[in-house]
């Protein structure tokens, strides 16, 4: 095993061990999306029942709530990935100035090792949580097929890498966690709102549809929908699955590359 891989493995394991040893993080990570899913899904579902373009434009209010919970499920998984990415990158800010990271930065391993470990750690945690929820959903009657499961795995991994890298790119240059929270509220949450997670893009204003099309998360969500509810995904406003796959691969590859580039560049910075 090369020194580089050894370092990546050790640092990735650290991310996971740290997560598991903070019980409130474990609880928060699993409970938050479920609460979101249930509360928003149940509440919004009722108000959606009258809408003509809603996915749940079916017979009665009870049926519509169930359908909306169903519709909202892939968005919940996306939210898990987003939250995990945020929480695993926010620690960089404090770590870098006065924490574990100081020792990593002056060690001989290339900084890419540490970036990759951060991204892999975030991705692994997101995947593990999504799997737990996925298993729960199977128990509640989600249909299972190997192909759908593989698509689900691949999409969550790509989303995990991409979103953790995005969080990393935001966190690395910052020197306060407050700044991160501000950007998160202004930028990351809207990214989620405008992905088609909460409402189907078909019924919204033109400029909003355009925004949704520019949002890489919309493509990830399309793939998730395809894996989790193939029947419901086939609406006219649906993005093309192949294009979605391509966008997701490019999205995570580009952001991972940028994260490594940014971290390396800081070595030669000399204000």
């Amino acid at each position: 095993m090369s020194d580089f891989i050894l370092a990546v493995r050790t640092l990735t394991r650290r991310e996971i061990v740290r997560f598991l040893r903070q019980r409130n993080r474990v609880i928060g990570a699993l409970a938050t999306p479920l609460v979101f899913w249930f509360l928003i899904g149940s509440g919004v579902g009722k108000s959606f029942s009258g809408g003509a373009n809603g996915p749940a434009a079916s017979t009665g209010p009870a049926a519509s709530t169930v359908s909306y919970l169903h519709y909202f499920f892939p968005g919940t998984l996306l939210l898990i990935v987003l939250f995990t990415a945020i929480f695993s990158t926010i620690s960089i800010i404090e770590d870098r100035r006065e924490g574990f990271l100081q020792g990593v930065l002056v060690s001989p391993i290339p900084r890419a090792a540490f970036v990759l470990a951060k991204l892999l750690g975030g991705t692994f945690l997101a995947l593990a949580q999504c799997l737990v929820i996925y298993l729960l959903a199977l128990g509640f009657g989600l249909p299972f097929s190997v192909l759908a499961f593989l698509l689900f795995l691949g999409t969550v991994i790509l989303l995990g890498l991409g979103l953790t890298a995005l969080g990393y790119l935001i966190a690395w240059p910052l020197d306060s966690t407050q700044g991160f929270h501000a950007i998160m509220n202004l930028f990351l949450m809207p990214l989620w709102f405008l992905s088609g997670a909460l409402f189907p893009p078909g019924g919204s204003a033109g400029w909003l549809q355009w925004l949704i099309r520019c949002n890489p998360l919309s493509y990830g969500l399309t793939l998730l929908r395809l894996a989790l509810e193939p029947g419901m995904a086939r609406t006219p406003a649906m993005l093309d699955p192949l294009v979605s796959g391509l966008v997701m691969v490019l999205f995570s590859a580009a952001l991972t590359y940028l994260a490594i580039l940014l971290t390396d560049r800081m070595t030669v910075r000399n204000p």
């Binding site: 903070q22 574990f100 002056v106 060690s107 391993i109």
Partner: protein, 335 residues
């Protein structure tokens, strides 16, 4: 690890800084500082807040590189930043703020550090065992770092930094936050290490007593090198002994002394330091004169050999002020 592109220089110089300048925007944190640290030395960098020693540490620890044309830094024979990876391989760094992961155990922290330097397997295990033994940490190896006292955590920091067998150990204010007994204990470990590991130790400090324990001292003030010598030689510069007067208005008394007795003295808050040339006669004369003339203005007095504080004041014309560690604005972390 790749072979060295340049052979390490032959002399017994462990760390060398030549004309190193570093600026934060307009402000010069370091101004053409040059010095060399000899192998096996305990070398102290002493200075008050804002003297540039934190910046110097950031450069020497390879946290930030020195810009091209702003001086040369050699660490264990390797140029930094040009041969960064080689220099880092030979360098141990102990930061002022903890660099341990508090959610990991002592052993996990130290193992992880070894992995970052390419150590693994039986070699790493043997090294970690030896270090834990030497730092009397064996019984705590499975404890989470957050359950350890400050003094113990600092000991783990030092043990961790020694895993890759560095040639040079660089410490930033290692005694900060330690009580006097923990500080003495840390120093005992450091002195022993110099013997057994053939280690060169460089540390920044603003503790004057700690500075006394170093073999040689670099004194920095406002980014400039003001002195470099052994503590004894530095104190000899000041002279025989120092008469310290405690008074209500030190500046007035200083002016009176200069006017009436032609004696130069250094103000240090409510204290006034008067260097006295060698000789009992001179001491008696000075005491006599000062007491006869100014008894009313003097609250208390002590007669003692010169301290590094006197040295600093003599060299810079200012009192050695310490307090919270001043960090350059750019480097200010989130607390």
């Amino acid at each position: 690890m790749a072979p060295a592109p340049l052979a390490p220089i032959a002399s017994a110089t462990a760390v060398s800084c030549q004309g190193v300048t570093y600026t934060y925007g307009e402000r010069r944190a370091l101004d053409a500082v040059s010095f060399e640290v000899t192998e096996g030395e305990i070398f102290g960098v002493l200075g008050p807040n804002g003297s540039g020693k934190t910046t110097l540490f950031r450069l020497l620890s390879t946290l930030v590189p020195v810009a091209a044309g702003f001086g040369t830094i050699r660490l264990a024979g390797h140029l930094y930043p040009e041969e960064g990876a080689l220099a880092r391989r030979r360098l141990g760094v102990v930061f002022q703020s903890p660099s341990l992961d508090k959610k990991l155990t002592v052993q996990e922290n130290i193992d992880a550090h070894g992995h970052l330097y390419g150590l693994r397997g039986a070699e790493l295990a043997a090294r970690v065992d030896a270090l834990l033994e030497r730092f009397s940490l064996g019984s705590r190896r499975r404890d989470l770092v957050e359950t350890l006292s400050g003094g113990l955590q600092r000991r783990v920091e030092v043990a961790k930094s020694l895993v890759p067998r560095p040639a040079v150990l660089i410490l930033d204010e290692p005694s900060t936050g330690l009580d006097p007994s923990a500080r003495r204990e840390l120093w005992e470990y450091l002195r022993a290490l110099r013997q057994t590991e053939k280690l060169t130790i460089l540390m920044t400090t603003h503790f004057l007593d700690e500075a006394e324990w170093c073999d040689r001292l670099l004194i920095l003030d406002e980014g400039k090198r003001v002195a470099l010598d052994t503590p004894e030689a530095l104190k000899r510069q000041v002279g025989g002994s120092v008469l310290t007067l405690q008074c209500e208005n030190a500046e007035t008394l200083r002016d009176s002394l200069r006017r009436e007795l032609s004696i130069e003295s250094d103000v240090r808050g409510n204290f006034l330091d008067l260097p006295i040339p060698n000789g009992d006669e001179a001491e008696r004369d000075l005491l006599n004169h000062v007491l006869r003339r100014f008894r009313r203005q003097i609250v208390g007095l002590t007669l003692a050999p010169p301290s590094l504080e006197n040295v600093f004041t003599r060299l810079t014309g200012r009192a050695f002020v310490t307090g919270g560690e001043a960090v350059p604005a750019k480097a200010k972390g989130h607390k």
